[in-house]
Amino acid sequence: MSLFEIKNVSKSFGDLKVLNDITVSVDKGEVVAIIGPSGSGKSTLLRCATMLETMDSGDLTYKGEYAAKNDENGKSVYAPPSELRKIKGYFGLVFQQFNLFPHYSVLKNLCDAPVSVQKRDRKEVEKEARVLISKMGLEGKENYYPQQLSGGQQQRVAIARALCMNPDILFFDEPTSALDPELTGEILKVIRQLAQEHMTMVIVTHEMAFARDVADRVIFMDGGYIVEEGRPEDVITNPKEERTQRFLARFSENG
C-alpha cells in the first residue's frame, strides 16, 4: 500500500486545464522529485495533494484513507471535516516563501500547532522542538523572530516546523527558489540528511543536480501532464521523451 496516492486528478482554473489525469503514488521512505517548466502544474499538484486546492476529479489517499474520492459522475467528493482533520496530520508542506508566523518566535513557530492542533503536551513538544532546532543548526535562535534570521535560516525553521508535527510525508515546493544562491546549499544539505533518514518526501525543484542525487524517482511534468517518470539516471541523465530532452537542454544552457 502506498503512503500517499493521488489518482487521475484533473484540475482547471476557469478554462485553463492545469492538471490532466495525473496519478502519483509514493511509498514509505521514497524521495520523489518533480521537475518541469514554469506553469506546468507542479505547484498545483502539490496544492491538491495538501488540500490547499480542491481537485475537480480524482482520488486522494493517505495511508489508504480517502481524503477525496470520485463519485459516479467522476467528480471529487471530499471526506467529512473530522476525517480531513485527521488526514492533515499525515503530511507537511514547506513553501517557497517559508510562510513562518512573524509574530511568533522560532520556538513558538514550531510548538504552537503541535500543542493547539494535535493537543500534545507542551513540555514534550518543546523538548522535541529544541532537538529539531539544533538538528537544523539553529541552536541559540529559539527566541529569535523570523525576520531576524537569514532566508536560509528561515527556511530551516519552516522545515523544522513541518517536522515537529511528525508527518509521515513532507512536500516541498521549490524550497530554495526564494534564496540567494549561496544559501541554497544549506537547505539542500538538510533535505539530503532527511533523505538519508528515510523521510518520505516529494520535492518540486529546479535544482537538477540535487534531484538526480537525492531522488529515488523523478517525475517530469509539462502542460499539466506527466511526460516522463522513472529513475533519476534515466529521466535526468538519459531522457527518452523529446520534451524532457528539450527542457533539460535549456536547463543546462541556462545554468
Binding site: T50, K88, N99, H103
Partner: protein, 216 residues
Amino acid sequence: MSLMNVMRQIGSGFGSTLIIFFFTLLFSMPLGILVALGRMSKIKPLSVLIQGIISILRGTPLMLQLIVVFYGPYYLFGMKLSTGWRLYATLIGFSINYAAYFAEIFRAGIQSIPVGQTEAATVLGYTKVQTFVKIIFPQMVKRTIPPVTNEVITLVKDTSLAFVLAYQEMFTYAKQVSAAMSSLMPLFVAGLFYYLFNLVVTIAMDRIEKALSYYN
C-alpha cells in the same frame, strides 16, 4: 466668572465626553471586526449588503445619523422618548458609525496579510477560527494601528457632536458658559481639554505600537 470656575464648569462635562469616547471604542471595535468579516464573506448578498451599509454610514454626516437614531423610535413606532435615551442613542449612533470606519480599516489590514499565512496555518491543521485568532488577528492589529489611531483622535473631537441630542457633554457646557459670559474664552478652555485628551490618546497609541514592534 473666574478661569477656575469656567474650567470646573466645562470639566463637569468631561465625564460625559469620556463615556461617549470609551463606550464607542468598546462597542465599535469588536463590531467593526464582525462587519469586516461579513464584508469579506463568500456569501455574496451578505457582503454586498454590508458594503452598502458601510457606504451610507461613511457617506452621510454623523450628526444626521445621531438625529435619526434618536428620533427613529418615535417616528417609526410612536414610542415615547425617555431622558435616558439621549445617552443610549448617542452611543448607538457613534458605535455604528465608527464600526463602519473600523471595519474598512480592519478589512484592509486583513487583506494586506500574505495569503501564505493562512495557507501555512491550514496545512498545519489550524481551524478557521484558530487561524483567525492566533495568526491573522494579531498581525492585523499591528498593521492597523496607524489608521486606528487616526480614527480614535477623530473620535475625541467628534464626541462634541453629541450636543445635537442635547446630551450634556463638555462642548455643550462650553457653549453655554461662553454664551452666558459673552466670551470666547470658555471655548478656548474646551479646546485645550480636547487637545490634552488627544495628547494622552496619542501617547497611549504610541505605547501600544512600541509594544508590538518586537517583530516586523
